[in-house]
Subunit: 333 residues, 2 copies
């Protein structure tokens, strides 16, 4: 059975994922700043995924996928390719479940990410981004060792796992007696926004849901407008290293399209300012790609007609020099 | 009735404080990093007070104190003097309770702290640190307007409020089936360590409890050794602006002395490294004074014989340029 033959996830799958990962994943806090609320004129909540295991939401999907391997699959192990957060998510999930893991990473990935992935116990296979094909390398491990490929987003169980972010948002707001007016999440391949949309659309049908992307990498937003999957123009540059997928996934777009309100896009400079705002108002380290939804709100790109706005800060894996440079470049609010 | 005539707080007072502030304060998360645990060889938990309202634990004590004002006292308002975190804690507590607040701040305090204190709705009175006496200014407001003085630490209800940090630590570890082996908190006047010690000593009698201070400002640690309150030598310099009190308080020392195991002191360079470690492993913004307990562990000053170590990261109110500079100076672990 391949991943894509699993039927499309619904709310019950997200709820089952939440139960499945409850003992290993963090229910991350929904942060709020009275000072920032006063400035904005509405309540802004930040879902703090940098505080998730491995520093990003990716652990949720990885754990939900690996926990559903059968005994034989667990023994043979998993293989994933990623230069960043998915690598660490899969590596830790594999470690906790005692599953061997091979992670195929570009040799020029940040040293800290390679070191962390190894520290979680995974076997890291480096490849040359210019001359080698990571999918071919992954496929070789899959066929030679019978390993299960764990894709970053085109997988119903990965998407259901990421959807627990949306489920928690609705539950946490419910605990405050609130409903979300708008929910915004960062998008690369679309696993996060698809999962979040499944949960939020089911539990808060009146909420508007937005995909947020870097300018020139807003393929999901433009695909919503076009009504079909379109690719980013070539040659784009962004500091949001986690959000550079060329097109939405087929599965993720199918799930997201009927549930999303629209797309918002922000510049690198606006991402700097959002990272600084997260630092200042929420005391939270957010990586560039993790700050795009927050930037969409702070720049006023989100229409100002919601009382309760939730942004997902999707990750915090940024090198110290890069973070310091972003703080120094940023304009205070 | 003056503050000091209230009897010394005990566990029941801390528990009552927790109930009293439950609807306004955050139960901050107890963060953990599997990667860092592996490197250290034991489990390290970080009590994340930068995520508290106003970015530090100070809101807890302020809220617990102000919530106990009687009707007349609420109308007449409160006055506090502080250049930093206590100012913001009192200002927000006053705002939430509809109590007028005057905060006496040095004119050369960081602009952001003055601006934030004003943004919380307090009346800020600036004074010249070299030529004016802040206590005299505060006393004038107290006598002219009948305002209640809210001291930063020499007050049983402030201490009980700060003690909720220790109560939450014990409850959160209990939820994991654990007891703390060692608990470390940063100390200036001693309100935090005294409150934490009351809760931890009562709920986890076997735990060791340490005060952590900047080198040359380790008056609490040296007072424990001396068996009496001693002052810091003059002329010391530290980037830990929140931890520069000259001596332990009389009340705080009386409460802390019988409950503490000892004191640990760290240098400014070690604080840089701890701020970077908090950034990297916990994705948390910690101000210099908030990182001293973490630094005490990472430098190996804490004896290596505990399985479960808890450090309080007491605040995160640091300006962006200062934080960026600390990251750039720091050595990675």
């Amino acid at each position: 059975m391949t991943s894509s033959s699993v039927s499309d996830p619904v709310l019950a799958d997200v709820e089952a994922a939440a139960d499945r990962i409850a003992s290993t994943a963090i229910v991350t806090p929904l942060l709020e700043s009275p000072l920032l609320n006063d400035r904005l004129g509405f309540r802004l909540f930040v879902k703090a995924e940098p505080l998730q295991r491995t520093g990003s939401f990716k652990f949720r999907g990885a754990m939900n996928r690996l926990a559903q391997l059968d005994t034989g699959e667990r023994k043979r192990g998993v293989v994933a390719f990623s230069s960043g957060n998915h690598a660490q998510g899969v590596a830790l999930a594999a470690k906790l479940l005692g599953v061997p893991a091979v992670i195929v990473m570009p040799a020029d990935a940040p040293a800290i990410k390679i070191a962390n992935t190894r520290a979680y116990g995974a076997e890291v296979v480096l490849y040359d981004r210019r001359t080698e094909d990571r999918e071919a390398i992954g496929a070789k491990y899959a066929s030679d060792r019978g390993m299960t490929v764990v894709p970053p987003y085109e997988d119903a169980r990965i998407i259901a796992g990421q959807g627990t972010v949306g489920l928690e948002i609705c539950r946490q707001l419910d605990g405050l007696g609130l409903k979300p007016g708008a929910v915004l999440a960062n998008t690369s391949g679309g696993g996060l926004i698809a999962g979040v949309a499944i949960a939020v659309r089911a539990l808060a049908p009146a909420a508007d849901i937005f995909t947020c992307e870097p300018a020139d990498f807003d393929d999901m937003g433009r695909s919503l407008v076009a009504g079909r999957r379109v690719a980013n123009p070539p040659g784009g540059v962004s500091q949001c290293d986690a959000l550079l997928a060329a097109t939405p996934g087929e599965i993720t777009f199918r799930l997201a399209q009927p549930r999303l309100t629209g797309g918002l896009a922000v510049t690198d400079a606006e991402v700097d300012d959002a990272m600084r705002a997260a630092f200042e108002y929420f005391k939270l380290v957010v990586e560039p790609g993790g700050a795009v939804a927050l930037a969409s709100v702070l720049t006023g790109r989100l229409p100002r007609r919601y009382d309760n706005v939730v942004v997902v800060a999707s990750g915090g894996n940024v090198d110290a020099p890069a973070f310091a440079a972003a703080l120094n470049r940023a304009q205070p609010l």
